[in-house]
Symmetry: C2
Subunit: 235 residues, 2 copies
DNA sequence: TTTGTAAAATTGGTTGAACCATATAGCGTT
DNA sequence: AACGCTATATGGTTCAACCAATTTTACAAA
């Protein structure tokens, strides 16, 4: 009998949760590192002493969360980064708690100005280069899609420059959720005003002026929120 | 043959993701409301035209996320609220991206002062009562466990009073993650200083003094962070 | 009628085996 | 060495059966 294993002598009705915990242990013990391969499902199931179908439930949870990736004929790999780990949860949060665009924007107003301020204090030369490139990308953009990508890229650089990875990941997700749905809403999205704000924010970060960065970012988001509200009224 | 269904004429190798999307539709169309019961697995599997094992993978994802609840012999219910929806993802975020306590605290420093400021502007009589009760709970607490609960309850009230549900949910999770692991770390957690800060914050919110609330909250968190750092050094 | 209990039906939990689809590795031919 | 076929490994899916807990129903006793 393989692996009597950790603690749970109980009936274990919540086998999936238990399996997830065991996989967590594998990761935290360093037995499986980011990017590396898991044992085959059939093998891992034996090790854990459960049926393959049960193990697959647990693996599917982690795959949808973005913790791991599975490829037919190849294997199961631990994700190198947890990029998309918050996407599905946020989607359901919006759905279940009936969160509005307004509340998402409000969250941005609460957090992003502070992130911009910190970016002004910490930004590296690389960060500044990224910001410049995002601004140029926006100037060159010819359609909504590329414009949105450049917009997201700019804010993403600010998040990265702020040095806080949690906010970085979280707002990346919130941004994409907001901007894509806005892109679907209004056919023509203004570009001049966001662009001028981006330049203002960039200048403040470059000049290490955190107060100015905070202020410009706040104005920028409130402005964008205003545009959204107007465009929604015109529907 | 049941439900030719939405769009995906392709091979659908990602059947789980597709099923989750279909369940999302059920929810967003209002066919299933929070708290209400899903059709039995065997039935729903037929409707979706997939095997029960496949459907169960999708349902398990949503159950672990906290979107729904399953009970043997009873049925599957859509969660009334999405309370815990961010817990597992955050756990894995910490695990995979190797996030430290420091970064979690930093996130608090970034966001919670602003939330306190907003709480000062919006708090209802009910919110204020909750804050008072949390303070009393902390004064009465006799052990770490009840003390932590009261601590969490206080901040939870601030989040609720701020009016932003996203931050409310997110920081509820971050708090619990932080405080429980701190509780395990240091045997005796100071109580006087957090308590005095809580009183200060409460007074500012009650007086509608948002600037003071922001400042007090910032000091409070930085102070707590300092205690953690010291206690970690003594290990 | 009301109540209590046992049987039946319902429903999620788990297992085992089989088969499919794809990617990789190995081998043989050219 | 290069190409192409085959075998193997691996995740994806299905089917069928049984387990375990809960709820419902049926029926007998009070």
């Amino acid at each position: 009998m393989p692996v009597a294993s950790s603690g749970d002598a109980k009936t274990d009705t919540r086998i999936t949760a238990t399996l997830i915990a065991k996989i967590k242990q594998l990761i935290s013990k360093g037995e499986i590192e980011p990017g590396s391969k898991f044992p085959p499902e059939r093998e891992l199931a034996k090790e854990f002493g459960v049926n393959r179908a049960s193990l697959r439930q647990a693996l599917k949870v982690l795959e949808i969360m973005g913790v791991l990736t599975q490829r037919v004929g190849d294997g199961t790999y631990l994700s190198a980064s947890a990029e998309s780990i918050l996407k599905e949860p946020l989607d359901f949060l919006v759905l279940l708690d009936d969160l509005s665009h307004y509340e998402l924007f409000e969250t941005r107003v609460i957090v992003e100005p502070e992130l911009a301020a910190r970016a002004a204090e910490r930004a590296t030369a690389e960060d500044l280069a990224g910001l410049r490139q995002a601004i140029m990308g926006m100037e060159r953009s010819r359609n909504n899609q590329t414009r949105l990508e450049a917009d997201i890229a700019f804010h993403d650089c600010v998040f990265r420059a702020s040095g806080n990875r949690i906010c970085h990941l979280l707002f990346k997700v919130i941004h994409r959720s907001l901007l894509t749905s806005m892109g679907q809403l209004s056919r023509r999205v203004s570009i001049d005003r966001p662009l001028s704000y981006h330049k203002k924010i960039y200048a403040a970060i470059r000049d290490r002026n955190s107060e100015e960065a905070r202020k410009a970012m706040q104005e920028h988001i409130l402005d964008a929120q205003g545009l959204l509200t107007k465009s929604a009224q015109n529907e």
